[in-house]
C-alpha cells in the first residue's frame, strides 16, 4: 500500500508513481458534519500548490478543498458528486476527490505523517 500524507488543511494524499490521490480526512468530515454537496475539478486542470481545487458543503456551510501539491488533474471522482453523503462514510478510501500528476515529489515528502497529523489535530481542535 502506498504511503499516506496529510496537510494542515485536513487533506490526505497518497502517491503511486507520479500520480497523487487527494481527499479530505475523517477528522475533516467530523468537523463538517453531514456532507450534501461536492464539486471536483475536471481532468486537465493545472493546480498550484495549496490552491483551491474542489468544494465540499455540509448543511451548515461551504468549504474549499485545496491541493496540497502542484500538478495536473487526471481525474475527479464523480461518484462523490452524485452521492455526497458517501464522503462521510468512507472519506479516506472510496470517497477520494481527485487525482493529479505531480511535478515535485518533495512537496509530497514535506507533508505530515499520520502520527504528525493526529498530533496536529489534537493541538488544533475545531
Amino acid at each position: 500500500m502506498s504511503e499516506k500524507k496529510f496537510s494542515k488543511k485536513h487533506e490526505w494524499v497518497s502517491l503511486e508513481g507520479d500520480v497523487a490521490t487527494v481527499g479530505i480526512t475523517k477528522h475533516a468530515t467530523e468537523l463538517l458534519g453531514d456532507i450534501v454537496f461536492a464539486e471536483v475539478p475536471d481532468a486537465g486542470k493545472l493546480l498550484e500548490k495549496e490552491s483551491q481545487a474542489a468544494v465540499v458543503e455540509s448543511t451548515k456551510a461551504a468549504s474549499d478543498v485545496y491541493s496540497p501539491i502542484a500538478g495536473e488533474i487526471t481525474d475527479g471522482n464523480k461518484s462523490i458528486v452524485d452521492d455526497p453523503g458517501s464522503i462521510n462514510k468512507d472519506p479516506e478510501g472510496a470517497s477520494w476527490f481527485f487525482k493529479l500528476k505531480i511535478k515535485d515529489k518533495e512537496e509530497f515528502n514535506a507533508l505530515m505523517s499520520k502520527d504528525e497529523y493526529d498530533k496536529f489535530c489534537k493541538e488544533n481542535p475545531s
Binding site: 458534519g33 450534501v36 454537496f37 455540509s58 448543511t59 461551504a62 458528486v81
Partner: protein, 369 residues
C-alpha cells in the same frame, strides 16, 4: 469610553446539552447547541418522522399586563387584530417601524391579564425598548428569565406529551392553556416553527430538566439550531436577520396574510401609509421560494439573475433540505419574476446555475385545526 464586556449566556439546560454531546456555537449572545451526536440530517429526519425537542429558552418570553389601553398601545406597533384575539389564542405577527420595516417577527398570545409575546433572542432587548415607548404607567411588563421554553415538534409529540400533561391533545394549532405539572403551573401552546405538529412549553428553569428527562426516556431526540434551520426553511418560514430585517416590510416578505384584514383597512399602526400603498400597488421585490437545479446550494447573499443575465435579486436563506432531498432556498426577486415556475439563474462561487421560483412551503404537513 465605557467598555462593555459581553458575557455569553447559557440556558438552564446547558449541562444537559453537554451531556447529550452537543456542539455549541455562539448565537445571539448565548452558547447554543448547533447539533448533537446524530448530526443535522438525522436530527431533521427524527423530527419529521417521530419527535424532537429544541431548547429555545434564548428567545424572550415577554409578558405584558394591563387593561384595554394596553391592547390599543400594542396595536400601534403590532399589526395583528389584538382587540379580537381571544384568551389563549396566538397570532404570528411583527413589530413594525415607521417605514413599515420589520423590527422583529413574533408570536403574540392573549393571556388573562394581557399578552405574552415570544421575541427573537437577538432582538429582544431592542424589541422591549421599542414596545415600551408605547406603554403607559398603568401597563406592567416583564421579560421573564426564570422560564425556559421547550419546543416539542414532530408527529409523535402529541402522544408523548399527553402522557405527561393530560389535556394537551385537545389544544388546536395556535392556541394554548395553563396546565399543572409536578405541582407547578406551566403554559403550553400548540405551535412551533418546523412545519410539524407540536408544542411549545413554557416551564420554570427549576423544572425543565425533569421535563427533558421524560422526553429523552420517551426516545425524543435533542435537536440543535442546525436542524431547526433546515426544518424551518423546508416549511417556508422566515428567519429574522436573514429573510427579514428592518428594511423589509411584510408585503415584500410575502407575509401580508399576517396583517389582520381589519388592521389593513383601519390602520393605526407604524408604517401603515407605506404598507397601504404597497397593498394596493404591489412591492418592487418580493420573497419567493427557490429550487436550484441539481445539487448546488445557493446560500445567503447569492445573486439571482434572469435567464437573460440581468440581476434580479438575492438569496436570504439556503441549504440542503433533508426531507425534500434537494437544495432549497428563499430570497427576494423583482416582483415580475416572482411567479412560481419562473426560470432563474443563481450565482454560486462565480458560476451561474439554473433554478426555478418555487412554491412555499417546500415541505407540507397539516396542522391540527
Amino acid at each position: 469610553m465605557k467598555r462593555v464586556i459581553m458575557q455569553t449566556q447559557k440556558t438552564a439546560l446547558y449541562n444537559i446539552h453537554k451531556n447529550l454531546g452537543a456542539k455549541f456555537v455562539p448565537f445571539a449572545g448565548y452558547e447554543m447547541p448547533i447539533q448533537y451526536k446524530d448530526g443535522i440530517v438525522k436530527e431533521h429526519i427524527s423530527t419529521r418522522t417521530f419527535a424532537g425537542f429544541f431548547d429555545v429558552s434564548h428567545m424572550g418570553q415577554f409578558f405584558l399586563e394591563g387593561d384595554e389601553t394596553l391592547t390599543e398601545a400594542l396595536e400601534k406597533i403590532i399589526p395583528a387584530d389584538l382587540k379580537s384575539l381571544k384568551i389563549n389564542h396566538s397570532k404570528y405577527s411583527f413589530l413594525l417601524n415607521n417605514y413599515g420595516g420589520i423590527i422583529d417577527d413574533l408570536i403574540v398570545t392573549k393571556t388573562e391579564k394581557g399578552f405574552c409575546i415570544i421575541l427573537n433572542a437577538a432582538c429582544k432587548d431592542n424589541d422591549i425598548k421599542q414596545i415600551s415607548q408605547f406603554l403607559g404607567k398603568n401597563h406592567k411588563y416583564l421579560l421573564n428569565n426564570d422560564l425556559s421554553l421547550i419546543a416539542l415538534q414532530g408527529p409523535k409529540s402529541v402522544e408523548i406529551l399527553e402522557k405527561l400533561i393530560p389535556g394537551v391533545s385537545n389544544l388546536k394549532f395556535m392556541t394554548g392553556n395553563n396546565f399543572n405539572y409536578d405541582s407547578e403551573k406551566l403554559y403550553v401552546t400548540r405551535s412551533g416553527y418546523t412545519g410539524e405538529d407540536g408544542f411549545e412549553i413554557s416551564i420554570s428553569n427549576k423544572k425543565v430538566e425533569k421535563l427533558i428527562n421524560f422526553l429523552i426516556l420517551n426516545e425524543v431526540k435533542p435537536i440543535g439550531l442546525g436542524a431547526r434551520d433546515t426544518l424551518r426553511l423546508e416549511a417556508g418560514l422566515c428567519l429574522y436577520g436573514h429573510d427579514l430585517n428592518e428594511k423589509i416590510n411584510p408585503v415584500e416578505a410575502n407575509l401580508k396574510w399576517a396583517i389582520a384584514k381589519k388592521r389593513k383597512e383601519d390602520g393605526g399602526f407604524n408604517g401603515w401609509n407605506k404598507i397601504k400603498s404597497l397593498l394596493t400597488n404591489g412591492s418592487e421585490k418580493i420573497r419567493v421560494g427557490i429550487m436550484p437545479e441539481g445539487k448546488v446550494i445557493a446560500r445567503e447573499n447569492a445573486k439571482i439573475f434572469s435567464t437573460e443575465d440581468n440581476e434580479i435579486g438575492f438569496v436570504t436563506s439556503g441549504t440542503f433540505g433533508p426531507s425534500v432531498n434537494a437544495p432549497v432556498a428563499m430570497g427576494y426577486v423583482k416582483s415580475n419574476f416572482a411567479k412560481v415556475g419562473t426560470s432563474i439563474k443563481l450565482e454560486v462561487r462565480g458560476k451561474k446555475y439554473g433554478g426555478k421560483v418555487s412554491e412555499l412551503p417546500f415541505y407540507k404537513k397539516s396542522y391540527v385545526k
